[in-house]
Symmetry: none
Subunit: 499 residues, 2 copies
């Protein structure tokens, strides 16, 4: 019976998460400005309530009893028990007042960031960001001291990483990042030279009305299996994918003059959405039924966007839809779209980066946030560290340009420290999974060329979506791809697409 | 300190209400169909959580201690303590199994009603409605026996009324309803005869595109002081006013061919919204800072819609805006709009009724539900009682027409018994307040004619909005209007507008 007591408790937590997810979506998509303070309070209270529920002392006995009786559980229930225990341990590591302080502080900092970033006002931003990082340090130390005995973290930053990407070790991150840091800067000039020689793409000539872009977006989303009876597409200043598994809310922003990148953003968010909505419905509301960490989540969006979406067969296949909705601008011809969607160019902005330079943006942030958490750097050092690393990794100067430098991302003001590595872990996971999918579905490129994508989605569903958290990350990778994560497939993908 | 413990608990309840209000708004305005099941679960869990919080045994001691120490509280805190206690007593009066049974039974009955009403199937509906009324009887008796010692209810129905309209006594309802029942049916033929003699209004000739209606609606809402940085206007199948005090969400539905009534609906919802957003911000999240009962809430929407919105100066003042946005259809000329907005015609449907006949719809329902709750009638008697009263009050025959008779409203299948009187109490409260406002702002009609409405809103703010629940209903009326509720101002208003 104790297992049932636990499932009931986690079901309740899932309902509070449902509320939080929807209030968060609303906050970014619908809410008028003056609603923000009360919304922040409501979200903070929901998170305090969740903390109280998962910290109730009676759960310790329930876990002990459930574990003593674990032999009588089905395998998926055993996995659920393991995941419940993991979440319980992590949640109990952080004191309730720290949870509340972080919710309020990040809400304030993120809100301020929205106007301070366009004003390039680092001076006003810095003290607010410092408060956030101070709380993240406390959080990291609390997690480290509570879990280190069973986890054996190398440091407190690894404890934060374990929140966003359960089971990912810093040793693996450092190993693959080191390879990327060696290989990619060497490839970059070769790729750019080749692209110059092949001729650069034409850019869109005339603005395209938003309504046509929406029609195209919905057409492509439907092609990618998005169910509009179980989700929505809306606008947000900072696009994200939200909602719950039965009601997926993806967002985008539209530019009249650059419709090409917007479409790829939507393909990306559709990948996140298919994962969330493709989770095992029998496990809904239970930890085992949740998506894996952020890295695996990002792998699904990047599988859609980078592996499939920017592949030549896919671009050629959707080019007629692009022209049908947006008109016959020469930029929308298939050959030009292929060039546009694979153009490599170092730039200041992470979210605009191509897949060759993107890992450098991530590595830069990872090194900075790790050092701040570990006390090897302070928030006041960030602009200088940023400038130096930008110069070293991408040869770009960001001096004094805070808004396109350390103020460009919402993650830090939102308190999501330890999150950035997942983008690049996701890119490598996507490449490794895509290679495995092609081995399993050998005619995949021809099918993509016909937009007959069902077997590809079926592979993802069987190997990732329906698995939820029933396996740990390493086992998920081994079952799906035959090996644990490594950088080989990503680097092969980059070489084969760009050289 | 116990007072602080209580305020913290009620602050937490307010945050759960915030979540529930926004999830409910989203469910009706944004949510795709397949999200409904999970949304229902989330909303149910929020309400179970709230019940657990307000029923926690430790609150009894906290109330005792806070009351012993009440002399050290500010007057508004004393009022807050009184309101907290009231809500706590009511929430604890009803056993948890009755709350659950009512939730399940009304859910089943309301769901069945959606298809049984269009099918005019009273036979299948009756047993389900009987179950609902049986539980409402139990609820009334539970409230009555728990609270009667301090409330001195005349019967169990009065305990239900006290849920929706705290402090309203049945003796007052009976007194004013008796006057309306005598006066209005006598006025009705005179009004209709006069309107026939004056010539009936022209109806809209051509459809008007929704975008123009939205532009007009927003223009009028802004004129009425709606702050679009603290609220939104959206579409819903069944318009309502929702959200929270810092973020008001009003909804409407648009008809291309009858834009006139839609606009008045928006003015009505704007009245509700100004009340909610005008509540005392220093008391936010506490019971003393909430709006009064349903009757006072309705009085604010009817002050906007009926007292001001359908007055000749207001209609004349907005007619140019109507024509600017919607075009020069003869129906949109000021004189015709005045006729359209004050047309009187007895009909079967409450929600379509004009302000002269509306009270008859309410009195009919009140008398029936009261008698069923008190055991003086049974659910099986309802159709015959309905027919008889419809004939007596409005001279209409509903024999066999259940769908436009006792099956037309969602209130009974939803278990909202004791709610109907608030519509007419609200209409009378609005008339009495409007008369008091005109005494305080003697040039109000001229100001309305210039759409210079600030002094009117200031009067409402000072006398109603900022008061929250710091006064009981009778004292609120005495401070605002010099006397307790009576029907004189409403009847004077009807005579002066319609005869």
């Amino acid at each position: 019976m104790s297992y049932q007591k636990l499932t009931k408790t986690f079901h309740r937590l899932a309902q509070l998460e449902h509320a939080g997810a929807m209030l968060g979506w609303d906050q970014q998509v619908m809410m008028p400005a003056k609603g923000n303070e009360a919304r922040g309070e409501a979200l903070a209270e929901l998170s305090v309530l969740s903390t109280e529920i998962i910290q109730q002392p009676a759960l310790a006995d329930a876990f002990a009893a459930a574990e003593a009786d674990a032999d009588n559980l089905e395998p998926w229930q055993q996995a659920n028990l393991r995941e419940m225990r993991e979440q319980w341990k992590k949640a109990n590591a952080i004191p309730a007042d720290l949870v509340e302080a972080k919710a309020l502080t990040t809400n304030e900092c993120e809100y301020a960031w929205r106007s301070l970033r366009p004003a390039n006002d680092w001076k006003s931003f810095e003290p607010k960001l410092k408060k956030v990082f101070d709380l993240c340090r406390e959080e990291a130390q609390a997690l480290h001291s509570a879990l280190n005995d069973e986890k054996g973290y190398v440091n407190a930053y690894e404890a934060l990483l374990d929140i966003y990407d359960p089971g990912t070790r810093l040793s693996r991150v450092d190993a693959v990042f080191a390879e990327l840091k060696t290989e990619l800067p060497a490839l970059l000039p070769q790729v750019m030279e080749k692209q110059r020689a092949d001729g650069l793409p034409a850019v869109q000539q005339a603005p395209v009305d938003k309504s046509h872009q929406i029609a195209l977006a919905k057409d492509i989303m439907a092609t990618l299996g998005f169910d509009f009876d179980a989700g929505r597409l809306d606008e947000a200043a900072h696009p994200f994918s939200g909602g719950v598994s039965t009601d997926s809310r993806i967002t985008t922003r539209y530019s009249d003059t650059n419709v090409v990148e917007g479409l790829m953003g939507i393909i990306h968010e559709t990948g996140h959405s298919r994962y969330e909505t493709g989770l095992n419905p029998n496990w809904r509301g239970q930890p085992v039924g949740q998506s894996m960490g952020m890295g695996v989540h990002e792998s699904q969006s990047l599988f859609f966007e980078m592996q499939m979406g920017r592949s030549a067969p896919f671009i050629d296949a959707i080019a007629p839809k692009v022209q049908q909705h947006l008109g016959n601008d020469p930029a929308f011809q298939a050959e030009n779209l292929r060039k546009l969607y694979t153009q490599v160019q170092p730039g200041l902005i992470r979210v605009n980066a191509d897949e060759v330079t993107y890992p450098m943006h991530v590595i830069l942030r990872y090194e900075i946030e790790r050092d701040v958490i570990l006390g090897d750097a302070e928030v006041s050092d960030i602009p200088e560290l940023w400038n130096q690393k930008m110069k070293d990794l991408l040869g770009l100067d960001t001096t004094g340009n805070y808004k396109d430098g350390p103020m460009q991302d919402v993650h830090w003001p939102a308190g999501a420290v330890g999150y950035f590595p997942s983008y690049t872990l996701g890119a490598m996971t996507a490449a490794q999974m895509h290679a495995a999918m092609v081995r399993a579905v050998p005619d995949a490129p021809e099918r993509v060329a016909r937009l007959d994508l069902k077997p590809i989605f079926a592979w993802l569903s069987d190997n990732v979506w329906l698995k939820g958290r029933s396996l740990n990350y390493d086992d998920l990778m081994i079952e799906a791809t035959g090996e644990t994560l490594n950088s080989r497939y990503f680097l092969e993908h980059i070489r084969s697409r760009y050289l």
